[in-house]
């Protein structure tokens, strides 16, 4: 069963496509730097074709049906791509919604003298495109969420570098909140580096951790224990005065752990533990080096 709208689209496809493109471009917020015209034209034509095929199948209301699969795929691809490229939701929504106006124009021309059919078809197209635009938004948001998840992973990775400060000494500056997921990453990186470099001392610097509550403390204690199991010693540095006071009031016992106020004093302790002596050269020995 072919309905009136699908016949109208089939007959006026080229015109509809052209007017749809025009409507998309009149949206003054559309940034043409993000996509080229050819691409936009291609996507629009692809979408219109799948829309027409779906309509010709006779299904006029359920966008979740099999006939609508190609159009869902096309829309899904377009919205995810737009989310990644940084399009606004408005720009993405306009893409589908502006097709409404072009279809209404074509239907109006065709059924000018038959208001009943015109009314029925307009309602139909309206509902269908509303459903499709909701679908577009959903996929757009999913695309954005994927971007956020990927960024979270990246942040986790870049924010936990393990630095070889000296033969046998590793330093690990921790910046931000130390939640369970971060602790896992920190611990893995650290243990891996201890093995890879054969280091015997690791300095965990928490200057960049905003608050140490019992959960963070527990995570630190776990990391220290794991380091010890690997045969290395762990020093925690960067405990600011206000954090020290808070830890004491909370009742957390860090007495089994070597702690230092600054990274510099932790490094000094590490040198001591390794029997390394660092001292200023006097003038004469400097010159003799040259």
């Amino acid at each position: 069963m072919k309905n009136a709208t699908s016949k109208v689209i089939r007959k006026n496809k080229a015109q509809i496509l052209e007017s749809w493109m025009k409507y998309q471009l009149t949206d003054e917020d559309l940034r043409d730097d993000l996509m080229n015209m050819e691409e936009l034209h291609g996507q629009s034509e692809q979408l219109l074709d799948s829309f027409l095929n779906a309509l010709e199948s006779g299904n006029m209301n359920d966008i979740n049906a099999r006939e609508f699969e190609p159009i869902r795929d096309t829309l899904g691809e377009i919205s995810v791509m737009r989310a990644r490229r940084g399009y606004s939701p408005r720009e993405t929504g306009t893409f589908v919604l502006s097709l409404k106006q072009s279809l209404f124009d074509a239907l109006e021309k065709e059924f000018k003298s038959q208001p009943e059919i015109l009314y029925k078809e307009i309602i139909l197209v309206n509902n269908l495109l509303d459903s499709l635009s909701i679908f577009t938004f959903e996929t757009f948001i999913k695309g954005r969420e994927e971007v956020i998840l990927r960024q979270t992973d990246e942040i986790n990775e870049i924010s936990t570098p393990v630095i070889r400060v000296w033969e046998g000494i590793l330093a690990l500056p921790i910046i931000g909140t130390l939640d369970s997921a971060r602790t896992q990453i920190v611990m893995e990186n650290l243990l891996q580096e201890i093995v890879a470099t054969g280091s015997s001392i690791a300095i965990l610097d928490i200057s960049g951790v905003p608050a140490v509550d019992s959960l963070v403390a527990q995570h630190l204690i776990k990391t220290v224990s794991a380091t010890r199991l690997m045969g290395a010693e762990c020093i925690i540095s960067g405990i600011r005065a206000e954090i020290a006071q808070t830890i004491v009031h909370l009742g957390i016992d860090l007495s089994n752990i070597k702690t230092k106020a600054s990274l510099a004093s932790a490094l000094r302790l590490a040198y001591d533990m390794m029997g390394v002596e660092v001292k200023k050269m006097d003038r004469r020995s400097k010159i003799s080096l040259l």
Binding site: P210, A211, D213, S214, Q218, E242, H249, L250, G251
Partner: protein
């Protein structure tokens, strides 16, 4: 007592903890609380939201700026509809935990802030209120 401002925040997931702590920090900075007191308050708040997430599957927090006897302070009320706490005296003891943890959250929080009160009805939920003054200890 005068309430200067009031705001509430739902805590439903791990990810709500950091934004919540930042809100508390904002309030504390606004009244000029010292860094040590800010850190105490934020750490206490952090313990209580974590309990709410861990034992009651989340809840909501009321954040208020209040003034009493010429002092300004931050008051936070943590309210959940979780299983409640059967024996509050026991839960307030250092080292008591049903969650294989340090058992320092509740007693530690009480030591960190100026005022602390807890109400809990088994099967209905738990409400913890803490107040920390601008010039608290």
């Amino acid at each position: 007592m005068i309430q200067i401002s009031k705001d509430s925040m739902p805590i439903l997931r791990e990810q709500d903890v950091v934004p919540f702590r930042n809100r508390v920090r904002e309030l504390a900075t606004k009244i000029g609380m010292s860094l040590v007191n800010q850190t105490k308050l934020i750490t206490a708040a952090s313990e209580l939201v974590r309990n709410m997430l861990k034992y009651a599957n989340g809840g909501k927090v009321l954040l208020e700026l209040i003034s009493r006897n010429g002092q300004t302070g931050v008051r936070l009320t943590f309210e959940d509809q979780g299983p409640g706490i059967k024996d509050i005296d026991l839960a307030m003891k250092d080292g008591f935990s049903t969650g294989k943890s340090l058992g320092l959250g509740l007693p530690g929080t009480k030591r960190l802030v100026n005022e602390f009160s807890i109400k809990s009805v088994p099967g209905e939920g738990t409400t913890v209120t803490i107040t920390h003054w601008k010039n608290g200890r």
